[in-house]
Symmetry: C2
DNA sequence: CTGAAAGCGCTTACAG
DNA sequence: CTGAAAGCGCTTACAG
């Protein structure tokens, strides 16, 4: 490995000067800077990131913390589960943004105890944390808040001195979805909804209710059906629904998410019914898969790019003000949503 | 931050002894060890990982290198593309295995030049690399080989002093798939295949041919149709196929992958045909999604767990022998595949 | 503008 | 079995 010592020798200066040149200090003469740059190129020098982290007491690394279960699972462990596909789609944008900002991304596996978890983040001198928690009451959220490491939450309404959050306008999105169905003539609109105790589910439910009320339609308890976020539970719930509700008392379904909608579509198919002629279905998220469902899924698009961009910018801003020992309370970001019409929704006139 | 200095003071020993106790050296008295352990607990001490990495000249970090395009993209950047879903499913198993072995996983974004890429891995003192390259001629494979960092490749046939690979028995899997269709009475079996210049595609094509030959069926060039690994290209290819082949000269399709099969199913649906009554379709990989396609997809399962377990064990073994300055050429691992029958394949007697 | 020196938190021969 | 000392590769007051 080439060290700064070798660069210094070749350039005829001290390691201190090499370091200054590298870090853009103004206190380096033009000649010295030139010789150093030449030496760096000819030796193929690149500073040792580990040594830099030690002396700076901070590495340019951002840790990803995904709390999807209540266990001490690994970051990606539950990505195979359909309820998390949306966040997965998000992850690649996260990596891209973080790379542009010259940070590394660490998938650090949670250790057994709460305290150790923070400690291990600290002993790695993590610069910041990007956190996604499915369960709003997950104790690890509080743990992160206490760690005093700059943290940005996605879809968790958690704020503090070193943390803030970014989320979609879930209420408005769900309102648009429901409104779309109302415009198509639907009057009995079911919603299969998840996590109404959490920030995402509760807003989506509220948006559904708001659209009905604005249209002068009653909010019927019978039309609000709870289910898990995943495809399988949505499938099971729909099967139950179609079996029990005879004659059927709804003509459309607002799904809590796209992956739930996929389960719903499957249940409707299996029951010998047609989408959208018999039942219209609308999703939420706009994952890539929507184009390939049968039929292609009408949905509400979350602006992933805006969410990720906002999240990373906020996080880096927190890291930098933290470096200067300043306090920094940043406001959250709420990104807009948008209706994407495909083929799973249609007019209600075909129904009884 | 609690340091080893503080632990040493509290335990009445030197930092050297604390370090020895921590690293399981036998040269520590029972009493000293006991006092040190107590001090560690009472102070909540955990060693600084960055400092350890510096002095050991090696961090307990494994870098993930995914080369999916020919660009300098980030690790996850192309995961939204359907052709990579299988590897994504794999990634969570990778993380799990690596966590169990007490290593961290780094998503390190590729820098611009070939040389810099290795340098930046080195300046981070990466212990090992887990690499997946879609394109067998990707120059970065060679770059990795030259880096002399322990590397395990998945699905790339690359070996060296510090590297080996793990892959499925793609030939046998594809043979099983084709045989399954032959057993169902199909005689004109199409294959939509990708990357026949690479290790995966070429083996799958070979398996298809082998099954036909063993059954005494001719290998007809007309039945081998190249397409990209992704859903969209498979969809387009199938649409073209169904349009151009009138009357249709095949009754079944062996897809290069599950995600290709999804595009194929969609094209068949849109053409007004039925799966499996008109055309049988079989995939490859057995991703989670297979259960939710319409109809559920018959496929060949790759043993992800075995692949990942083998990969991580091999990698760690290489890291450890590398630590001892020993040379270590490990043999590759070829994991078995298995036919999973669902509803997208059926008997051929319904066709003309 | 520049260099000598101290220090980040650990580990590891070396001497005892 | 144990401690003092050197060292991993860098940065940063400090003095000039």
């Amino acid at each position: 490995m080439v060290t700064s010592e070798q660069v210094a020798r070749l350039a005829g200066v001290s390691r201190a000067t090499v370091s200054r040149a590298l870090n853009g200090s103004p206190r380096v003469s033009a000649e010295a800077r030139k010789r150093i740059e030449e030496a760096i190129v000819s030796l193929g020098y690149e500073p040792d990131v580990v040594a830099q982290s030690l002396v700076r007491q901070r590495s340019r690394t951002i840790a990803l913390c995904l709390f999807f279960g209540n266990d001490n699972s690994t970051v990606l462990s539950r990505f195979g589960e359909t309820q998390h596909y949306f966040y997965l789609d998000m992850l690649r944008d996260v990596e891209q943004e973080i790379a542009v900002a010259h940070y590394d991304l660490l998938l650090h596996s949670a250790s057994t105890t709460k305290k150790n978890y923070i400690r291990s983040l600290q002993t790695r001198h993590i610069a910041g944390i990007l956190a996604i928690a499915m369960n709003p009451t997950d104790v690890r959220i509080q743990t992160l808040l206490e760690a005093e490491i700059p943290t940005i939450f996605i879809d968790s309404i958690s704020q503090g001195v070193h943390s803030t959050y970014v989320t979609s306008d879930n209420l408005d999105g769900s309102r648009q979805a429901t409104e779309h169905l109302i415009h198509l003539g639907h009057r009995r609109i079911m919603t299969l909804i998840s996590g109404t105790d959490g920030p995402v589910g509760s807003k989506r439910l509220a948006g559904y209710c708001q659209a009905l009320q604005q249209a002068g339609l009653p909010v019927d308890e019978q039309l609000i059906y709870p289910a898990g976020w995943n495809t399988e539970e949505a499938y099971q719930a729909t099967m139950t629904l179609l079996r029990e509700r005879q004659p059927r008392d709804f003509t459309a379904i607002v799904a809590g998410s796209d992956l739930m909608a996929i389960g719903i579509l499957r249940a409707i198919h299996e029951s010998g019914l047609h989408v959208p002629n018999d039942i219209s279905v609308i999703g939420f998220d706009d994952v890539d898969l929507c184009r390939y469902t049968e039929p292609p899924l009408t949905t509400i698009r979350q602006d992933r790019s805006a969410m990720v961009h906002g999240a990373v910018q906020r996080l880096i801003q927190m890291i930098e003000t933290d470096d200067k020992q300043e306090e920094c309370r940043l406001s959250p970001i709420i990104t807009p949503t948008k209706l994407i019409v495909r083929a799973s929704t249609g007019p209600a006139f075909l129904q009884a």
